[in-house]
Every structure is written in C-alpha cells, then in structure tokens.
Amino acid sequence: MTKPALPVVSMDAITKTFPGVKALDAVRLDLYPGQVTALVGENGAGKSTTVKILTGIYRPDGGTIRIDGTPVTIDSANAAADAGITAIHQETVLFDELSVAENIFIGHAPRTRTGLIDKTQMHRAAEKLLREIDAPIDPRTRLRDLGIANKHLVAIARALSVDARVVIMDEPTAALSHKEITELYELIETLKSQGKAILFISHKFDEIFRIADRYTVFRDGAFVGEGRIADIDEDALVKMMVGRTVDHIFPDRGSTIAEDVLQVAGYSHPTEFADIGFTLRRGEILGFYGLVGAGRSEFMQALFGITKPSKGVCKISGKIRVIRSPADAVANGIVYVPEDRGRQGAIIGLPIFQNITLPSLGRTSRAGFLRLAEEFALARTYAERLDLRAAALDQDVGNLSGGNQQKIVIAKWLATQPQVIILDEPTKGIDIGSKAAVHAFMAELAEQGLSIIMVSSEIPEVIGMSDRAIIMRDGRIVAELEGDALRPETLVRHAAGITASPQLEEA
C-alpha cells in the first residue's frame, strides 16, 4: 500500500479561464495512494480553483483528469463523490441544528424498507466512522453543542462516509489549536495507512514539512514544480513559490515622509489580536501583510470602531482619541475601505450620489436638512476624480460593476477629507489594468499628504507600494520591515512562522 506506483488522480494540462483572468494555465497535479501531497502557492496561485475542479464545482476549459489512468469528467459534486473524491473545506458546510450522525449522512442516509431514515443503522455507522478516526463524539449530539475542533472531526467523518479514496484538506488547521492540530496529524497518518490519497493545502510551512510526502508548487495559475518533500528545504520551496518577475510596474514614489499622524499602542482583543502597536506618518503607505486569519482585518475594523470588545490607545496627531464606533472614527479622520465590498461597502438600493455623500452629510446639509445641489456637486467632484463609469449620479449603485462600486466606496471616504485611509485588500479580484490604476491613485493620494494603511495578501503589491510593511501572524505583529529588508522571502518567512530567518527586525 505504501508504494506509489500509479497516481490515483492525475490532472494534466488543466486550464481554467475566468473573464479577464487565467486562473489555471495548463497545470498538472498527481495524487498518490497512501501519500500526502502539499499544494503550495501564494494567494491567487490557483489552489482553490484546483480544488473546485476536483470536486466538480468548476469545469476545466481544457486538460484531462484521470482516475486510475482512465480519463473522467467531473461535472458535478455527485460525480466527484462517485469518483471517490471528497473535500474538507476551509469553512466546512455543516448544519448546527442536526445531530452529528445526521450531519455525517445527510444526503445518503441508510433507509428502512419503508423509505424512512434508518436511525439505528445510521447511528451505528456514524459510531463506527467516528471510532475509526478516534473521535470521542456521541453521534446523537447536536452539532451546535460541539466545539470547533470536534466539528472538524465530524466534517472529516462526513468526508469519509462516502468511501473516499481521495481526501482534499483545504487549510484544515486554520481554526484549530496546537493540540488539535497534533490530533489532526495523527488522523492524517491513519488515513495514509488506509491507502487514501491526500491533497493538503496550507500556507504554514512547518505543517507542510511535518506531514506532507510530496509537494506541488503553483505560481500565478501555472505549474512551477513538484517533488518529494525529503528532497527540498524551506528556502528552496519559498523561492519556487514567490520567485516571479514582477509583472507590472509600480508607481515610482519619492519619500517625503513627515510627522506622525497616527500612533497605535497596545491594541488587543480577547481572541483575534494582541498588543498591536505602530506609528503611521503623513504621506506614508504602510503595508500590512500576513496569512488569511492573521488578524489584520479584525484589527483594522477595531481601529475603525467595529470589532468589539477591543482595547488600546489610539493617538491622532499626538492627541488620544477614543473610537467606539465608525462614526467616531470618521469624525477623527480615519476611514476604512472594507474587503467585503458587497455587504460592508456600497449601499445597494441607494443612488450613487447618496452613497458618496452619506458620511459627509454634515457638510452638505444645513441644520440637518439636505441640500441636493451641494450633494450632487460633492459627488460629482469625487466621481470624476476617480473616473467613475456611470450613466448618471442618481443611478442605483447596484447597476455598477464591482470595480466601479469600489470607486464609490473610495470616493465616499475621500469626500470626508480623511487623514488616514485604511484599504483592505484594495485590488483583490480586480484585473491587472484596474490594479495599476488603483496603485497609481494610491501613490497620488500619499503624495497629497494622505496616510494610507494597505492590508494586502499579495506580496508584489506589499513590496511595490509600501514605504514600510508590518507582518502579522496569529494576531500579533511579528516584524516591521522597510527598505532592503522588504523582500518576498522575508515576508513569507515571517508570515508563515519559519524560524531562523536571516533578518529579524522586531517591531
């Protein structure tokens, strides 16, 4: 069982294109029985797309998937299950109000002769599955009564209940504690010994080197390399992951950095982040890099008065300010462009001009009464400055493209004439051309004296745009880099927690 003669699953020359983006460009990936293959790559390298193709959510535009050497078409979740492929996702889809056994067998529960669910049989089968993975859970428990780690075990049991030969684990340890991670490793060993092929996706290098047998590296949707973990070290793997030629030119910015605008000290939250402190200068772009879940967005939203309860000291231009709500933050000149544009960004249902003037009504109105002429004038100024593509200013923002909605949110905040603007993943999901425009605009704003905090998971963006970069891991600042220290390898090392790094500048 341990000799990898033939791969169970073999993806060859798989291509997937989305409008404007080539997500996968002729990539290959082989999964062997009884082995853990780590799929390594930056955000946007094409890992999730690969998982979605294997599980039948996306259909590839080109290439072949072979199971045991036979070409197959995986065009639905059912087809994936029939092929013996099962996935445990980052955010597992489970049902809180159902029992553990019902969660495991939902959709394929054993039936009695009358067609009703055979509860006895289901509980027995669930017990057996849970025992196999050493999960001390009563199948009759309601899922909501379980902790996050046990929920994860239920998700694994569910994945195994369909007689899987291939198990995909997408960031399985993101929400687990150290002890739970150790237990997960043991479970993975068990699955290996049963001859299952495991695809393991993680950003954490210590995990990859601890658990994986093989690796495959993707970069920007292209295959970079593969091999045995035993034959490679961390440095070489990091190089494969990030070693790209910078594919677009970032604006050239002179450094005219002046006095401190924002000083943050000791910001903490019970679970999300701890002891965050830094200063931001006028006209500076400060990058915040880290892995998903490192607590960057949570901290930014705390600074903006949303994430509670959090405590800490925030000084603006040397004066201590208490920010309990976004309204307080805006009043103090701090604004936030969220990553979740749909829900937290533009207000769909309101026209463009009302979206732009919403936080500035105090200025456009008189004694609390609206003045439409002033509103249109203000909205026009910023809409045109951002080169908004719209038919009219009274058009519903819901009819605009995502990129233009993002412009509305930025226009809304610039209209308040802030001192500090926080941009959370400002170019996520937008095409190369728009990216360059956003970057140029950011540089222009900084030039005009606006201080910018840029949360980004894209290494070239952090390096290309930031005057300084702060790296967060597990809710803490682990490094503050500037100048020559701002290199891809260094960022990845700090973010992934690779020890013995050459340069370590503690914040």
Binding site: Y336, R343, G349, L358, P359, A391, L393, D394, A440
Partner: protein, 335 residues
C-alpha cells in the same frame, strides 16, 4: 505618476426629469386607484358626495395614519412594531385611570404621550441594545401592554373624561375639517420633511438598504433605530389620545387589531416590507384609499367582516399588479 488634470468623463446628475420619475412612481398608480374608488363610490351611493359624510369618513384613517407615518420610517429602516395597538390600550388605560383621580385635559395628554414614549423605549431597548428581532419583541409586548390594560380594567370601562378632552376626537378646526384631520395633515408634512428632506431620513434609507454598509459608512445605526421606536411609541400615544377622546371611554379591547391595519396602510403606500424604500406621500394616499373603501362599503351596508376581505384583496391586488405586469412583459420578450 498619472496626470491628475486629464479630462475625465462627465457624469450627469440625473437621466430622467422630475415629471418622468413622478409619472412612473408607485404614488401615481395609487393616486389613480384612489380617484377610481372615489368615482365608483360617488356613482354607487347618493350619500357619498356630502361634505359632512366625507368628514366623518376621515375618522376611518386619521388615527391609524398618525401611527402609519412613524411605522413607515420604522419599516423602511428594516424593523417593525406590532405592539402599536396595545400601546394605545395601555396609554388609554393610563389616561382613564388618571381621569378617575381628576386629572385635567393637559395632564391626560401628557400621560398619553409619555406612556407611548415609554412603551416605544421599551421596544427600542430590546431591539437596539440586546439585538433581538423586532418582530419577536413587539409580538411579545403586544400581549404584554394589552395584558396590563386587562389586569387594570378587567371587564370594566373608564368613562368620565373631562368635557374639554373631547376636543381632540370630536372637535372641528374649521367647517367640516376635524381636529384629527388637522393633526393628520400636520404630521404628514412633518414626517414627509423628516424622511425626504433631512439627514436623519437619509440615514433611515441607508440602514434599510444595508445595515452593515450604513454602519461602515459612519451611521449610528442603533441610535437611529431607537429614535424610530420612540417616535412610533409617541405616535401611538397620540393616537390613543384621539381615539379615547372620540370614544369617550376606555375598554381594554380598544383598538384591537389596529396594528395590522397600520401595517397594511404602510405597505399599500408602497413601503417595502423588507425595508429600504417607500415614501410618506404614498402612505398619505394609501390612508385616503383605505378610508374611502371602508366608507364606501359602509354606505352600501357591507358588513365589517366583508370589508376586511375587500381591504385584503385591495392590498394583494395593488401589490401584485406591477409584479404581474413585469412578468408578462418579460414573458413576451423571452418568447
């Protein structure tokens, strides 16, 4: 560095003129319905076109509409208050109790308004501070407030209000125009301005369309919602004053079921029950439509139970029509 003075595209303020927007509006459709009902009524009954009869007919909607204005704002913000009729019962009971101890008209009015405000604050605390869904909270307080009235009154009734207290529900400001109609008219203007012409009104729309987005835009969402609950309570207190004054007595069953008529009026007026859109002119026209239908059917000796069937059909019909129309047009395009 990008050239900042490059000629950017010009985006016009509006594409459609004010007249075009008004013609296509829900309010225009509703106004047409109101006119049609008015004409039908005047053909159906010879007693309809009589100034004093029409004046009496306004009592069918004035008290409900006072609450409906505040309710419209509350529903646009994405919340609802189903306890309004029970607030009337509690406020009326409190006034009746005070009248037994010899309270004057001024004190009675104060008591009615304060009880309304307190009830609104009670609802508001549960919804905005504890974060409970308003529909559940106000179904609870609907039973609670009226329950207190039943405990105080049993199957008794409070009478013996001061003579000048009758002015609110039975008085006339000029010729056939009642005091209640005057209050209705003033409130229509006040709420119309509040919703359509102030920053507060804009915040109400923003919250109703996307509460998270509104919060992220620096709107004090919970504060706005709390004020709306206060206003709805206050308007219920005012309606309690008018209704008690008109009836001259308080029973615990006063205004039973009125919350649904208020919500019907708001929805008929074009307010989206899921929040985000609607207007005060719409609610004003809806108030007249409901008043006219009830009055016209009353003149034709249609019993009250059948009348509620008509109101129900009217509501569903008026709301379904535009949707049906859109589906028909889409179907034609698709084929």
């Amino acid at each position: 560095m990008r050239d900042t003075v490059q000629p950017n595209r010009h985006v016009p303020d509006r594409l459609t003129s004010r007249a075009q927007r008004m013609l296509r509006s829900w309010e225009a459709l509703l106004l047409a319905v109101a006119v049609a009902i008015f004409m039908l009524n005047s053909f159906a009954s010879p007693y309809f076109l009589n100034a004093w009869n029409l004046s009496d007919a306004t009592f069918n909607f004035t008290e409900k509409a006072m609450i409906a204005f505040a309710m419209a704002l509350l529903i646009i913000s994405g919340e609802i208050d189903l306890s309004v009729a029970s607030i009337i019962a509690l406020a009326s009971t409190a006034m009746g109790l005070a009248a037994q101890y010899g309270a004057g008209t001024g004190e009675l009015v104060g008591i009615g308004l304060v009880v309304g405000l307190l009830c609104g604050a009670f609802n508001g605390v549960f919804v905005t501070i504890l974060g409970l869904p308003s529909i559940v909270v106000t179904i609870g307080t609907m039973s609670l407030f009226r329950g207190i009235s039943y405990i105080i009154l049993g199957d008794e009734a409070f009478r013996g209000y001061p003579a000048d207290f009758a002015w609110f529900g039975q008085g006339y400001v000029y010729w056939v125009f009642t005091v209640e109609l005057a209050i209705f008219a003033i409130l229509a203007v006040v709420y119309g301005v509040l919703l359509h012409k102030t920053n507060f009104g804009r915040a109400v729309y923003a919250i109703g369309n996307n509460p998270t987005g509104a919060l992220f835009s620096g709107i004090r969402v919970q504060r706005v919602k709390f004020i709306l609950f206060l206003l709805t309570g206050l308007m219920s207190g005012l309606a309690a004053i008018c209704l008690t004054s008109r009836l001259g007595s308080t029973r615990p069953s006063i205004a039973q079921g009125m919350e649904l008529e208020v919500v019907t009026m708001v929805v008929l007026g074009g307010v989206n029950i899921l929040g985000g859109s609607g207007s005060i002119p719409g609610v004003v026209i809806a108030a007249f439509v409901m008043g006219l239908v009830t009055f016209g059917l009353g003149l034709l000796n249609v019993p009250g139970i059948v009348m509620s069937i008509f109101i129900g059909l009217l509501l569903i019909g008026v709301i379904a029509l535009p949707r049906l129309w859109a589906m028909l047009r889409q179907g034609r395009r698709a084929s």
